[in-house]
Symmetry: C2
Subunit: 145 residues, 2 copies
């Protein structure tokens, strides 16, 4: 019911595909890649198309229903927009799961940037590491930036 209103309010139609995407993200509780979302939605709607997933992830991010995040491998992760508003993420290199971080570093920086004549529109803060279950063990795929 929640979602129905949210979509309507944003001028988006209520479709099975959109409901399935949100359901999948809600059940998972963490951020997922478009591919992972696609795979899970396919179990609910076997005929879904990849482009439908992409279009809706983009659209719902624009409308503020979801939030997206580009990790350092060049893959986008999507999750439900948390009710508490603005936040950042910790991404586990072991299991790939991500977790919200409430802390935001922009406050301190905004003034500094303004002094230099820079205006700030968006920012991105992502912490990579290993979660409790994954230990410091088997991480592999991070680029050595």
């Amino acid at each position: 019911m929640e979602l129905e209103n949210l979509l309507k309010q944003k001028g988006l139609k209520i479709t099975d595909q959109r409901k399935a995407i949100v359901k999948v993200l809600k059940e998972c509780g963490c951020m997922l890649s478009a591919r992972e979302i696609f795979d899970k939605v396919k179990k609910i709607i076997p005929g879904v198309n990849f482009s439908t997933i992409y279009r809706n992830l983009d659209l719902m991010s624009q409308k503020g229903i979801l939030c997206g995040l580009m990790v350092d491998t060049g893959v986008s992760l999507y999750g439900l927009r948390s009710e508490e508003g603005h936040h950042h993420h910790f991404v586990c290199k072991g299991c790939g799961r991500s977790l919200a971080i409430d802390y935001c570093p922009m406050g301190l920086l905004e003034k500094e940037l303004a002094k230099k004549g820079f205006s700030h529109t968006e920012h991105q803060f992502v912490v990579y590491g290993f979660c409790g279950s994954c230990g410091t063990s088997g991480g592999v795929k991070a680029k050595s930036y």
Copy 2:
């Protein structure tokens, strides 16, 4: 001369391609995408191949000679590793140029994460906006994450 020693020290051979990549980045003074670097290096060495650029950008990032950064459009930017060490970036959505930011938010966060059982290996902090020359004017391409 600088670079020659640096490469040697890291076990990398001194090639025209590597020298050209570093020259281009030094002259530009800001971070560039692989494509931009390729285009500029081609003016020095007309026959360079794209894969050579990619391989060297990766390699020199691993060796700590360059540093890389994934922006929210999924493109990697590369720049010379600044002598001052660890830093982050401001990326202008008008002209695409990037600038080092000395501030790092991890200090405060590290302990908090440790309490929750998370270990931290890398992090990413990128601020998007407009630089003095670009004003608040014509930016377009940012995703609405």
